[in-house]
């Protein structure tokens, strides 16, 4: 199967124009020594139906039927049908980066609107046009803060999700960046506020944090600013239906993972990262920014601004290299936030709160299970299970039809299992989970006893 339109006649006629005897001749100037010694070890091409059949077989091997209480940055929120219907339109799906504004006004305007809603959610004046994901967004924010403060040490709360902390380290390592962690309060699950040293470029906290607990952003902003450091908040964008926007509370940079905003799961990608900042940091923004303009005829229009920072321009001194990012996902989040609106955002955030607390109360009644933190949580909480291996408990619960996780990897709640309740998790789901947890804990405890 191939998508090229060429008939044998086409090829002959075109080779004539080009002046080559055959297709291989187009490659004649490539030294023979570079050609592979043997034919490609790949199957022959397949028809659409055969490809989809194989895809269907593999897809069926993923077991996605479980009721999803999993969290850790990706949540089973409602994804309204309009998103797929609109984003699949060829004019959006098959466009390149809007380098040519005359023929890209649709995408440019959508990105401008996206930036506006993200800035609004973050409570900051400026947003870029998307980043790869939440993890790299934290790392990019750290780089901005280091550049702004000319310092090279950052404090990252241990209650920031582990993958993001790792990405910060990976990005920082070649640059000699020192990444230290702020311990979590063992009882509350929050990050106790303390003044950073004056060599610190930024403090990074997460709201709500990876244990689901709500941090005191305002206090942290005060502490960071007192030390001349930036406060970076990794934000769950749906939390602002309930909590103040971090920018209002003093955060200098607000970043996050866009998955909750209408993105579906698809194993964690594609989704997108967002980043908003204060006005003074605009020139250091990684990625693209779309601006409004007025053309010669007085018509409103949109263009990619800060083009001097684009990737087709040489920049040995760059602090960011992002070119292709996650435009379509960003636009999907715009569609989602338009669908949700301010009232929906509020209702959704409140529903998550009610459902999560209801579920937590049910689970707390199960013998051998307890909520691992005492601090205030919103949609997600760590559940400590009295079992030898929490990963085994996660697997056993999945076999019972319930997906939970991830397992908290470190810190005071290490070994607890995250449980998240979106607006989709019903009372019956919660009751089902509670009795599954009961069975699993009993079973796994028993196993150990049996083994002992």
């Amino acid at each position: 199967m191939r998508f090229a339109p060429h008939t044998a006649d086409d090829i002959r006629a075109m080779l004539d124009v080009v002046g080559k005897p055959d297709l291989d001749a187009l490659f004649a100037h490539i030294p023979d020594a570079l050609r592979p010694a043997r034919p490609l070890r790949l199957d022959a091409g397949r028809s659409e139906d055969e490809v989809l059949r194989r895809a269907g077989e593999l897809a069926a091997r993923n077991r996605v039927g479980a009721v999803c209480f999993a969290g850790g940055g990706a949540y089973d929120h409602v994804v309204p049908s309009v998103i797929g219907a609109l984003l699949s339109r060829g004019e959006l799906l098959t466009a390149y980066t809007p380098y040519q504004p005359e023929v890209s006004q649709g995408m440019l305007q959508a990105l401008f609107e996206y930036q506006t809603v993200i800035a609004e959610l973050c409570g900051l004046p400026v947003s870029n046009a998307s980043l790869y994901d939440g993890g790299s967004a934290v790392a990019e924010a750290v780089s901005m803060a280091c550049a702004a403060t000319r310092r090279n040490r950052v404090l990252v709360a241990q209650s920031v999700d582990a993958p993001s902390r790792q990405v910060v380290r990976t990005y920082g390592h070649p640059l000699g960046r020192v990444v230290d962690e702020l311990a979590t309060d063992p009882r509350l699950g929050t990050t106790p506020v303390a003044e950073p040293g004056d060599d610190v470029a930024a403090v990074v906290i997460q709201q709500p944090n990876a244990l689901g607990v709500i941090e005191d952003v305002r206090a942290w902003a005060g502490a960071a600013h007192a030390a001349g450091a930036k406060l970076i908040v990794k934000l769950d964008p749906l939390a602002v239906g309930l909590l103040p926007r971090p920018g209002e509370q003093g955060a200098d940079l607000v970043v996050g993972e866009g998955q909750p905003l209408g993105q579906g799961l698809s194993f964690g990608g594609p989704s997108f990262g967002f980043l908003a900042c204060t006005d003074d940091q605009v020139r250091r923004l990684p990625g693209r920014v779309v601006g409004q303009t007025v053309d010669a005829s007085g018509t409103r229009g949109y263009v990619m601004t800060l083009r001097a920072r684009e990737q087709d321009i040489r920049r040995e001194k760059a602090t960011s290299n992002i070119c292709t990012n996650q435009t379509l996902n960003a636009v999907a989040s715009l569609v989602y936030l338009t669908w949700l609106g301010p009232l929906g955002l509020r209702d959704l955030a409140r529903d998550c709160l009610s459902r999560a607390h209801h579920t937590a109360a049910l689970l707390a009644r199960v013998d051998g299970a307890e909520v691992a933190v005492a601090g205030p949580f919103w949609r997600e909480f760590p559940l400590r299970l009295d079992v030898p291996d929490p990963a085994e408990a996660v697997r056993a619960l999945h076999r019972e039809g319930y997906l939970v996780g991830p397992v908290v990897p470190d810190g005071p709640a290490a070994g607890a299992v995250m449980v998240a309740c979106t607006e989709r998790r019903t009372r019956a789901d919660a009751e089902g989970l509670a009795s599954a947890v009961q069975r699993v804990v009993q079973g796994l405890r028993g196993q150990v006893k049996g083994a002992a």
């Binding site: 060429h6 002046g19 022959a44 091409g45 989809l52 895809a55 609109l86 060829g90 338009t338 609106g341």
Partner: protein, 464 residues
């Protein structure tokens, strides 16, 4: 026939269309007790204002984005000869595959036993990309080409460090894409620019003079950004390897040689592929793409973890490379895009892939042959999947390549990449891709010739 509504008129923003109290959303009825946030979260500061998101009904939402889309060009609408972008047909079967619930609804932290399908697919993809690049080990975390560049350079750095060898510089040709030096800078390297010869190829003698034991590596696109195959690549690799430096292959132009020549066989040590170019996953107006990085055995221990492994019992799982540089992505990369790329490879296979590159090269050469007398090619070496012409000759009529591009838009064409690569004066970089018909190419070449003629005969047509 008339058309209704003026698509040239500015479309009001979604905020202009917003009215307080309108709504599109609907949420499941709350079937548990509704909590008062202030009571449930004692001592927590709650928001007093709601973000000013748009408030519209669902129809207004649908109309807004439908109308915006109608103000945008895409491959589905017409020819898109944007050089260095491989704007080929994005097969719809890939969308069908990625939308299968088994792929779409898989949570990133699902236990391995629940993710066997996707893990096998990624393992399969690693095998196929390994075969095509000649490099057997992959990470799928990079979300785009530039992300892959950063990853690859970090691998090079980790490799040298691990040998106690703290190298400082990365060599990048002056024809390189901007992301190359930017990635090197992000990775803490000093960038050394290597000049191109007048014909656009790497000046290997100059390169040899530039490199020493401080050189960590060279980043190269092959064919390069002029669409020219670096025929001396074997010697280039020798030069670099001799000083202990590694070679990074920027896969943006892999469409020219996919299935015919392998970066591994050319001497490269690490490569990224832009699946949103070569393997036809949709660009989405600037992403999502995916930039998987493949490496030879010696770089494998440093790959970002976790990577996909096949266990002895035939199941698939995650494993952590022993000396991993660490994560580059909060989850596992743009897996949904990789599913699409996998379908493309399955659909084409051993027979189809070499045909793709051949026809991509044929199409570029075909257009070049029709316009090179009026828009001279930068080089005499035959172009591969794209060619770079110079519009410098139009300057004497007071016409710039920028004007030519605007005129192309008038005539119904998306302009080629322009003013890149930087080393070509008034550059026009045309990449037709293999999925365009001869008729389209003929018409496009005729449009270019027409504009060049207009530039001479009635330049005022172009200048305003």
């Amino acid at each position: 026939m008339p058309v209704m509504g003026d698509r040239r008129a500015a479309e009001p923003t979604i905020f202009d269309k917003s009215r307080p109290g309108r709504r599109a959303y609907s949420l499941p009825a709350l079937d548990v007790d509704e909590l008062d946030p202030a009571e449930a979260l004692p001592g927590v500061e709650l928001t007093r204002v709601l973000p000013r998101l748009p408030e519209v009904a669902e129809l207004d939402l649908v109309r807004h984005f439908t109308r915006l889309s109608q103000r945008n060009h895409g491959i589905d609408v017409g020819f898109y000869p944007l050089g260095s972008c491989s704007m080929k047909y994005n097969p719809r079967l890939a969308e069908t595959a990625a939308a299968l619930p088994g792929f779409r609804d898989l949570h990133p932290w699902a236990p391995e036993e629940a993710a066997q399908g996707t893990l096998e697919l990624l393992w399969d993809l690693e095998r196929m990309l390994g075969e095509l690049t000649g490099m057997p080990h992959a990470t799928f975390q990079p979300a785009a080409g530039a992300h892959g560049e950063l990853c690859g350079l970090m691998l090079i750095r980790a490799y040298h460090s691990d040998r106690g060898d703290a190298r400082r510089t990365i060599v990048v040709p002056d024809s390189a894409h901007g992301t190359n030096p930017a990635s090197a800078a992000m990775c803490g390297y000093d960038v050394v620019t290597c000049p191109s010869r007048p014909d656009g190829l790497v000046d290997v003698d100059a390169l040899e003079a530039l490199v020493d034991e401080h050189t960590a590596g060279l980043m190269l696109t092959n064919p390069n950004t002029l669409g020219l195959f670096e025929v001396e690549i074997a010697r280039i690799a020798q030069v670099m390897h001799r000083v202990g430096a590694l070679l990074y292959y920027d896969g943006a132009n892999f469409n020219a040689i996919c299935g015919r020549v392998r970066p591994g066989d050319m001497g490269f040590d690490v490569v990224h592929l832009n699946v949103h170019k070569t393997f036809a996953t949709p660009h989405g107006g600037g992403g999502p793409g995916a930039g998987p990085v493949l490496v030879s055995d010696r770089l494998a221990p440093y790959l970002p973890g976790p990577v996909v492994a096949r266990r002895d019992d035939g199941t698939f799982g995650w494993s952590e490379p022993p000396k991993s540089i660490g994560r580059l992505h909060g989850f596992h990369g743009n897996v949904g895009i990789l599913v699409r790329a996998w379908t493309y490879l399955l659909a084409h296979g051993a027979d189809g892939l070499p045909m793709i590159s051949a026809l991509a090269v044929l199409n570029a050469n075909y257009v070049a042959a029709q316009v090179r007398d009026v828009l001279p090619l930068h080089s005499d070496q035959p172009p591969m999947h794209e060619f770079v012409s110079t519009g410098a000759g139009l300057k004497r009529h007071g016409v710039r390549v920028l004007d030519l591009c605007k005129r192309l838009i008038d005539l119904g064409y998306h302009p080629p990449t322009n003013y890149f690569p930087l080393i070509v004066d008034e550059a026009l970089m045309v990449e037709p891709t293999e999925t365009e018909t001869r008729e389209t190419l003929d018409d496009f070449a005729a449009a270019l010739r027409r504009i060049v003629r207009e530039a001479a005969e009635s330049p005022e047509l172009l200048r305003d």
